[in-house]
Subunit: 355 residues, 5 copies
């Protein structure tokens, strides 16, 4: 997850409320628009050239999915919003990429903001905001930039796989959200691998000095993933319980399925969280164990040689009357004594399990 | 608990929802089907050769328990599902072994998923998914593979022990769930033994270097056991409170009994959890105590011999005018002084309780 | 608290539900039965020889308290159960000593299980299961073995102290539960003393090496006491709020009083819990302080004598041209320098507050 | 807070419930009774000689405040209770100084127990139980001993300051409770000062060896203050929400004001709590930092002089053929080498920021 | 945040309740009054000379915002209060700067207290109390002193930017609160930067000795920010849910928007909180890592030179019969042995990754 970007709120101080202002980074790729217009029999897929082309779909009987990539194109989004009668505050939320996941029920449409999570090539979590507007016969989706997790949905629309072509717009919305939630699983799976790799590293002693930084980063990562995913639970729970006329009775079962998956993701996140919180303790014991080892080496060396050095010091004294010095085998006797002390101390350390 | 397998979600990215796809490992043993068909007077036990043989029991008056081992045989399970009118999403849940424990009430049947826990020969917790479908006069059970905790139930059915032959299908379901919950007790008992053994090891100082890894593994194990067991509490609570027509009034008391047991298991799990969380602290103090001991040895040795070595160094100097060197008993006096210092320091350390 | 015994569930795997099987230890003392049968005017106390003698009290107008010691006498308890129309599941709970405290309302009686706590002679907490059955005009109580906390109640019955002889059976039940709850206070008081003694020990530095084991044991002890006491709060709360016809309006106030006491006990338990959880930290700092002291001694000794030893080493060299060696007072000058260094270092350590 | 006294429950084992028994310490000062009897126009203040003098106020139209100091005078309190129709269980609670703060609504009066907290001269928190009985036109207050926080209330009564003389008894009760809650603020302020002083001490390194004991004592203190104050929140909340006929509509606003203050006190307590809980960690790092410093001194000294001592040792050897010994400037060259090594090592330590 | 000032309650002991007493510091700047009186067409901005000038706006049809800086001018505030019929307890709360954020609904106005947070030039958080009174056609705002976060609102009023001139007083109140909440974002952003800078410092090892003090200060800061912001959530939630006639239906959406922002701020605060709580652990590991490094240097030096010093000591002995001393190359052989030992030990430490 890009460090600086994500948890800055980028709230524009002093702005008039309801003004549609893009809060992401300025260097965004070009606008890209695509439309899927389908009935049970037929499915038209189209790359749109400008926002006006999307207006025609509003009043057709067919179901339409219009996907807009590029939240920085605020004028286009405002035009679309006017045509589809979207409230200005909703448009403001769509382009404010720091928006918390939420659901808003309006008279003729349902507005849902959520976070799409995936790992990029550098194994950083990318959190991209996706907004949906569900109308009677259309779904509008807004993404920060191109590249998403909806390819399987496109495929199913094109080739009439599964139920999606036989159902209403609410089922299309379900498949889109389901695709996002499916990716949550792979994100936490990779996160889980990271944690386990890290654990293994710590246990094997191959730890760098910035291990505690890595732990702190893992903590931050899981807290952010958590913050992206947990509010969605409540949102889906509300869809499931409500009797909004845009969500049909037979689709509810599918939303309940998403809800189940979210509970599962949440539980895994909380388990990982507890694991990460324990890592620091583990790291601490590893450090202490290492220090113990260092200390043992020092202690063993010092304890063995300090008395021996004392003994040789004794016979280095220059007293005129030191009887031992005249002994013929004095030198060898001293060696014998020293070897005996050496063996005794080594045995002592063996028994203490220090060697 | 197999490390990698259990908490991977294995959610199949991009699949059409409602498609019945087995998510476990591929190397599963063969399909095995067994049926118990019984009335108060009679009980027929039968090993079925194919799934079609099980269809006959649907419309009999007798109570039938059909047990299917082998969730990888999805076509067979789909056939059974069609015959018994099971919703495709339910079938999907049955073969998705990462399914969280849950209960779903359908018009003509009740669907329950839960986790069977037992220790295998290597003392690893095995978590196997078991699904139940309770109909008017039948119970279908689905297990990942052969080998389960239901032998006592089979025995009671065969020999008409207890109440089970006199009661309806809901009581049969009760005895099956009860058998699973009973095994939770033995699982946490073994877990408890592991924790206490580990504590004892830590206290006695016989700890390996990977103690903190073992603690982390224990933490993970208890978190997973917890996750398998806690949702069941809610499920049984719902059975107990609801007025589902498939659960008769006089059976409710028995479900309440299971509920009681689950509360008890949960409390034990939470106590073990707190114990495990404390283990790391204990381990830390053990390490520190050991280091203290090492340091003491070093300090005692160094403190005693460093001054003595200094003294012998003094008389190793080569000054021309060192009056002591000429003293007749100089050498012996120095020895006397050194012995005095030695005794003094030993006494000092004794008083400090370091020796 | 006997280590092994209490938190083993001893759930009998594969047993028919509703079978009345004693789960405690086998070496139980003999059955002992006592009965108090009283009216406002009169109180008969009787040691019963067999269970059948207790049957006569069921239909008298007087209030009867029958106390059964010895849960291993299951046949006797089943006989009693049949005579008083007790449900088999209730009987199962009575003799299952791992039963969690609970209340069950049946048509003609109220069933309550709770834990009696007291310290035995070895200062171990004894947790004994006590079950009560409150009928219209009788209270049956079941205990694991002889010896209990009800002597004051017996005394009041015998000598018509207080209100007990003037009230109904529900008041008798109240006095019995009150006696148990009163003992909770003394248990946590002793537990509190243990914690404070332990704190004092740690602070005074007189700690054994198994201090962290003692802390872990204290943790376990308080967790178990908590588990025995906390569910009772809910039970009494339910009695207080319900309109069970067996509990009269004017007795409710007394149950509310018990509830108050239980809240008070619970608060104390939670305070002790926080205290115990802090003990490990305290112990850790004590260890670290000790190591600091050890290190200081080593450092002071080494820092003072290492430079001095170097100096004497210098003048032990055998160079032919070492002018100092010829100085008349060279030896004494070196001594002077060494004394100066010694004093300087001692002063330095004094200023650092290490000495 | 007196260590032993406060959290002992002093529950009298085996006592008849409802017996009015004083549970505080026996060496209590004499009984002291005072009465304020006032109307809008007039206020009579009177020191009562015996409890019977207080009976006259029951049926006057004026508002009366009778304050009883000395809970050990149980007979007097029982007499008063009989005259004012107080329930025996209420009287029991009044004289049981381990009573948890609570409110009891009776038909003709409201009974409130709470804790008055203040610091005595030795800066120990004194927790004194105060009970109030609010009747239609009177307030009875019971305190453990003389000395309280009500002087400002007395002053306002005497000189008709503020609203108190124009309002009913419920407003008088409000001013009394308000005075107590006001003192909570000063108690936690002093507690806050203690914590900050302690922090400053730890940071400045001027810590005694019993720092961890002081931290433990602070923890205990805040836990007890918390326990005295938190239940009151609920009590006042209940007064504010209820429609007890003794509390008039226009007084409710004032009770809500107390409630606000209690929330504020509680928040401060919880902040202090978190601060104290962090102190131990801080202390630990301080210890570790100190040890680091000790170790550095040792390491620097040893690292510099050990190689030098080795060098001088080399030239202290007595080999017959050691060419360096004959060099004219050998001695001075060795000195040069040693000085170079010394400077090199000092530079190394400087670069490592150890010096 | 000024250390001493903020969390002292400054509750005036013994004061008559309802007395309007300023609780801030005495050295406050002069009173400053400003008024904005506007309709859709027109906006009059005026610096008021005295409080009486503000009275005229009460009965105009236009919307009026009167902003009072200087809570120490209690007489002026009381005059204003009387003119606008504000309850004395409300006035007391306005000038009590330790007031907790709250909302009070009165018959003709709504009273809201909240905290304005911003960083001053020294990067200390300033927490200033702001109170609002919303009447039918006016908003009164009370600030401790000049300088606030409302300049963007003033600008919009002057130049009729956005919706504010077309809407009622409730929308004006919304824009004012919104401006305050917007500043919460920048406050927590700066706090976030502080935490990250601190983390970076700790990781890079450039930590001062008072690092643990800084961590404690960060903890305190975040706890206070939390306490200022969290109650506001509930306040706005109540506005949003209630049907107060002063808040129009079409403004509710805007308040819900604030609520959303507050949830977002709260989540960020809680993430930062967890981060700060981890900092101490990180700091601890950094200290331990440093000590490890120190110990390694010592151990390496000592382990290498202690045996060498022993060897040279051996040949410094003065025995008459030491054959090695006569060897021609004895001296060089000893050097060879010592170099070999040196190389062996260096290799050993390399393999252990200590070098």
């Amino acid at each position: 997850m890009a460090r600086k970007r994500v948890y800055r709120s980028k709230k524009k101080l002093g702005q008039v409320p309801g003004s549609v202002i893009y809060t992401g980074e300025r260097s965004k790729p070009k606008l890209s628009l695509e439309a899927f217009d389908y009935t049970k029999q037929n499915c038209v897929e189209k790359e749109l050239q400008n926002i006006e082309e999307s207006f025609q779909f509003k009043h057709t009987d067919s179901i339409t999915w219009i996907n807009i990539n590029g939240l920085n194109y605020v004028t286009e989004i405002e035009k679309l919003g006017q045509h589809y009668n979207i409230h200005p505050l909703v448009l403001e939320d769509i382009v404010n990429i720091a928006q918390r996941p939420k659901i808003d029920e309006h008279e003729n449409y349902l507005f849902i903001v959520l976070k799409m999570l995936y790992y990029d090539k550098d194994q950083n979590i990318v959190s991209e905001q996706v907004s949906f507007i569900l109308g009677k016969n259309y779904v509008l989706s807004f993404q920060e930039s191109e590249g998403d997790v909806f390819d399987s949905v496109r495929d199913r629309l094109r080739h009439a796989k599964g139920r999606v072509r036989n159902m209403e717009a609410d089922y299309l919305l379900y498949t889109l959200i389901d695709a996002i939630v499916d990716h949550y699983f792979s994100v936490i799976e990779i996160l889980g691998d990271k944690i386990e790799d890290f654990e293994t590293k710590i246990f094997s002693g191959h730890i760098e000095d910035d291990a505690s930084r890595s732990i702190q980063d893992l903590k931050r990562e899981i807290l952010r993933v958590r913050r992206s995913i947990f509010p969605l639970r409540e949102i889906i729970g509300r869809i499931e319980k409500n009797d909004n006329k845009l969500i049909h009775q037979n689709t509810i079962t599918y939303y309940r399925d998403i809800y189940d998956h979210l509970i599962q993701v949440s539980e895994n996140i909380d388990i990982y969280r507890e694991m990460i919180w324990s890592l620091m303790d583990m790291y601490m014991t590893t450090i202490s164990n290492k220090m113990n080892e260092v200390m043992k080496v020092l202690t063993i060396m010092a304890t063995i040689f300090i008395p021996l050095t004392f003994i040789v010091g004794v016979y280095g004294m220059n007293f005129q009357h030191m009887p031992e010095l005249q002994y013929k085998n004095g030198y060898f006797i001293v060696w014998g004594v020293m070897v005996a002390i050496f063996i005794g101390l080594v045995y002592y350390f063996k028994r203490k399990k220090w060697l």
